[in-house]
Amino acid sequence: MCKDCGCGTALDRVHGHHHDHSHDSSHSHTFHGSHDHIHPHPNTPLERKTIELERKVLADNDAHAEENRRWLTAHGVMAINLISSPGAGKTYLLERTLERLRGEVSCAVITGDQCTDNDARRLMGKGAEVRQIETINSCHLDAVRVGELLPEVVGNGVKLLFIENIGNLVCPAAFDLGEHFKVALLSATEGEDKPVKYPTLFSMAPVVVLTKMDLVPHLDWDLTACRRYLRTIRPDAQIMELSAKTGQGMDNWVQYLRGITL
């Protein structure tokens, strides 16, 4: 697009028009956009045709995700996609989880953030293979980026892959990564009505982990209401309460993870 006059914008590129032009002011130029299609000759009659598609917008991502899932299953790896708002405690929970499973269940982690490899550095040295994805400007991980990392992060003997998604309750829910299922985290410092405010994610997560339970006595946070909101959105949700800091509920969580390995 010419930034002086705006020519070359989508509106300007209606089909069948000419591309070269000059300006009264100081410059002239030819159209410098590239096209992946041929423009019709003005004399060629065109016919408008409606095509019924019924095709998912994210069909390509979903196909890659399906491929990832097949690959993981074939390699005996159970993969879970951890999604929460920023600061719900995904990384802290993973740190404590990896420590507990070390030497018993071989784990790997793919962790996503907009910037920095801080999370990967926190998770290293705990016996798990860890890779960081920096998405820079994107608000979610996608199946292609995860798929590229699978062969290097999931080595022989790995039974559990944790994919720690970008902290965001909206966008990551839309992108299947090829995980076996999603786990939503919700911390006690967030409103107990988060499940009804962000129903997309909570309706897709069969497992919900309520974190920072050690803080509940200090907060006006209603566990009963939170559970009720969760059940409203997903009646069969499995809800686990824990505090990775004090260890409360961690036995239950770790026991659960042992049980889901393939």
Partner: protein
């Protein structure tokens, strides 16, 4: 805000069909966007035109039909072909 990714995927999908059909251009796209799809119709409309620049879908209209679930699919598209 992942609507740009959705818009690009939309253009990729419809572009494939347009190529298969030897279309000269895409005139319009109808998508169904569910309330639980995680996609905001207004945001999608806002980024679609920009995402469509210099593609088959440049200048195409975008119709968004609402739905109640997780629907996010292309219902139909209008293409211009040589008659």
């Amino acid at each position: 805000m992942h609507e740009m990714a959705i818009a690009l995927a939309l253009i990729e999908q419809t572009g494939k069909v347009a190529r298969e059909q030897n279309a000269k251009a895409i005139a319009g796209i109808t998508v169904v966007v569910g309330r639980l799809s995680g996609t905001d119709p207004d945001a999608l409309r806002a980024v679609f035109e920009l995402a469509a620049e210099e593609t088959f879908a440049a200048g195409a209209s975008l119709d968004i039909e609402p739905a109640n679930g997780r629907e996010l699919y292309i219902k139909s598209m209008d293409i211009d072909v040589e008659s």
